[in-house]
Symmetry: C2
Subunit: 424 residues, 2 copies
């Protein structure tokens, strides 16, 4: 018998009782930011449950749910996260009368999602972006170095990653301003011009949040890595390809990336994702070094979509679909690698997976790949064409797991619209 | 007549009344972190001055000096920083009786530096590291690509920078654990081994703190850039050269850097450094793009030193000296570049200049350069030899400006000792 809630949840909803992702919200009726979980079309306000005496978790002071970020809750560790989620499932269960039949608390605790503002779920101290899709790295490699040297020599040994900018991470729905910067033109490859970005792109990624961190100088072994991860979001690593191409040698992407990174507001917990663990790509040629070796399935079967609503168009097009399970290096490998030198992670830190492309052309997670660096037009059925993004374009990235019983463990939306550059 | 304080200040002190750098300290007598300025061998406790009614600055709530970071004070802007510093100079002036003759407040407000613990001066939201010394970039280029391609094509057009790790920034005096990681050996350049770092290095840098930030999507013009900078510290960007060499293509340094970055605790303000502005290197071949063009002197004449106390040795050796004035791209160019795409900076963010090497071999700011990637031994007068750092080695980076009157505007110490890697 599948668990179900007295809160109505449609078949296509991303937020059934089996999900219960955590987020930070406010409402016009109560502008203080606080912790909620998504259930159907509602947000369940955990601070109200605490006040009503319905949510009391061992090892968890009730006031963590009245805070404006999830950091303190994250720092309490996986047993507390799990106990909280278990209790919330119990409270939302259609067979449990505690909340179901307490209309006064229900009225206060269940807020329609249409009435809330979602905020960044955590104070993100550091943000790291990985580059863990073999298909994406190969596509980019073929484009810029040719087929024979597509993957760099280190790629199959290291979950390649680099530090990103935390200040410009924004929550779904925030507009993104087209950046300007230095770039070169085909006419003169040694004298840059200053201009607005002409190759504005997305990257379809998943972001994962560090729950409990580690001390500087210590490492997290791969067998323990999952317990340090609070959960996942969908992430759009907006990219200015022309700025990036000129600046990135030798120290990596900088202004080509740090003008904006959008995340979906709801963090889907590792416990909710656990039923969707699958084997990832084989890692046998070469085998990873021992500190990166997984002993159990560590990929997640999450269907992903790139949706584009072109400027002036009324229609939203799905321009690509992909899946998190294609990713070569798992999130636990990423975490073990990140800390193997003693680098400290802190609660609320976020890591991106890198662009999640699949093996087929319809599964490429960036316009760079979909348009093969602008050489191929994407033709949409209403006559709209694109290579890269134009001002006014709106992109939504989304994803979900589908259970055998048919319900979805979803991530909601990761949405952003391109504003023109205000400078000349 | 040179301003002087009733607090004794030796000729060699880094902290005369003309300096007054800001920092965060605590003491065993009063363990709360709070704001102080350095004067001679003392810390002046600003929270005590506020309580005593001696420090009241327009636009500045007194409780900002009782806080555990400088972020809120930084956010108030340069006129408030300047008014505060002016008032402190007035209070410390030997001709002013207000504090001088108030023994009760003096006893409370002036704490010997030997009795305090210094902390990170700010909550550093984001940390960016630049690569702005032409001499350093050239040396590294010659070593790894040969003389003809020493500088990358973008280097003379862009203050090249990349994002660093904020979590592992530590204050002077914190031990640094030797990292382990993947690296290749000369015997097999395609199959990495896992081992402790064999090329542990320093980078002599200056760090600058963002005071007032900018909104996402907006930029800071170069003419306004200096007003956004709160001040400078000395920074040691510890580097694991062998880990870095294997990992850094194509996205830049990651684990080779993020195991630790040390900064000196006192932030020397831009107002204190103003008298030491000089012309920087000529930028005429090529000229920078207009958004990077300086209209006034923008380099600072700051003498820098690298001091090494080898493991087991009683002696400290000055292994290199350099100067901030050699730097090709100024800090104001760095800030203008960082924001030109709309990237938002926040109060408390820190940027490093990159290794500050000078034109002479004795002025190289890293062991990579001093030992020419391990091919040349540094011989110290007591028979100690080094290429890279060994366990137990202690490094101190320091620097100061010297005024025409002979006093020093100094940065104090940026010190760290290497601990062995605790893992096999």
């Amino acid at each position: 018998m599948v668990l179900s809630s007295f809160v109505p949840v449609s078949q296509e909803s991303h937020f059934p009782i089996q999900n219960l992702p955590f987020g930070i919200f406010s409402s016009s009726a109560k502008p203080e930011r606080r912790v909620g979980v998504a259930i159907g079309d509602y947000v369940l306000d955990l601070s109200v449950l605490v006040q009503a005496g319905l949510l009391s978790i061992e090892g968890c002071a009730g006031d963590v749910f009245a805070q404006s970020t999830l950091n303190d809750f994250m720092g309490l560790g996986r047993p507390v996260w799990k106990a909280t989620r278990d209790r919330l499932q119990q409270l939302l269960d259609s067979n449990n009368a505690e909340l179901r039949d307490n209309q006064a608390v229900r009225d206060q605790a269940l807020v329609p999602q249409s009435e809330v503002t979602m905020h960044l779920p955590a104070n993100i101290g550091d943000y790291t972006d990985f580059y863990c899709s073999r298909e994406h790295a190969t596509n980019v490699g073929i484009m810029f170095r040719g087929k024979d040297n597509a993957l760099q020599p280190n790629w199959l040994h290291i979950p390649v990653g680099y530090h990103g900018r935390a200040s410009s991470i924004v929550v779904s729905g925030t507009d993104i301003t087209r950046p300007a910067g230095q770039r070169i033109t085909p006419a003169n490859k040694s004298q840059p011009i200053f201009a607005t970005c002409a190759k504005l792109d997305i990257e379809l990624e998943v972001g994962w949040f560090v729950g409990t961190g580690n001390k500087l100088g210590e490492r997290v072994e791969i067998k323990d890595a999952k317990d340090h991860i609070f959960g996942m979001v969908i992430m759009n690593d907006w990219s200015a390809r022309d700025i990036q191409a000129w600046e990135y040698v030798p120290l990596g992407p900088f202004l080509g990336k740090n003008f904006g990174t959008t995340i979906s507001p709801w963090i889907v917990t590792m416990d909710a994702l656990e039923p969707f663990l699958v084997d990832g790509p084989a890692q046998d040629a070469p085998e990873p070094l021992p500190y990166l070796k997984e002993s159990q399935p560590s990929a997640y079967d999450v269907h992903l979509e790139v949706q584009l609503k072109p400027a002036g168009s009324a229609k939203t097009h799905t321009v690509a679909t992909s899946n998190l399970k294609y990713m070569y290096w798992s999130v636990t490998q990423q975490l073990a690698h990140h800390t193997v030198n003693g680098c400290n992670l802190r609660e609320g830190d976020m890591c991106g997976t890198g662009t999640l492309s699949g093996p087929n052309e319809s599964e490429y997670g960036s316009f760079l790949e979909l348009s093969w660096n602008g050489t191929k037009k994407l033709n949409m059925e209403d006559g709209v064409e694109r290579t890269f993004l134009e001002d006014g374009d709106e992109v939504n990235l989304t994803g979900y797991c589908t259970s055998q019983e048919g319900y979805r463990i979803g991530f909601g939306d990761c949405r952003g619209k391109i504003l023109p550059c205000p400078y000349q």
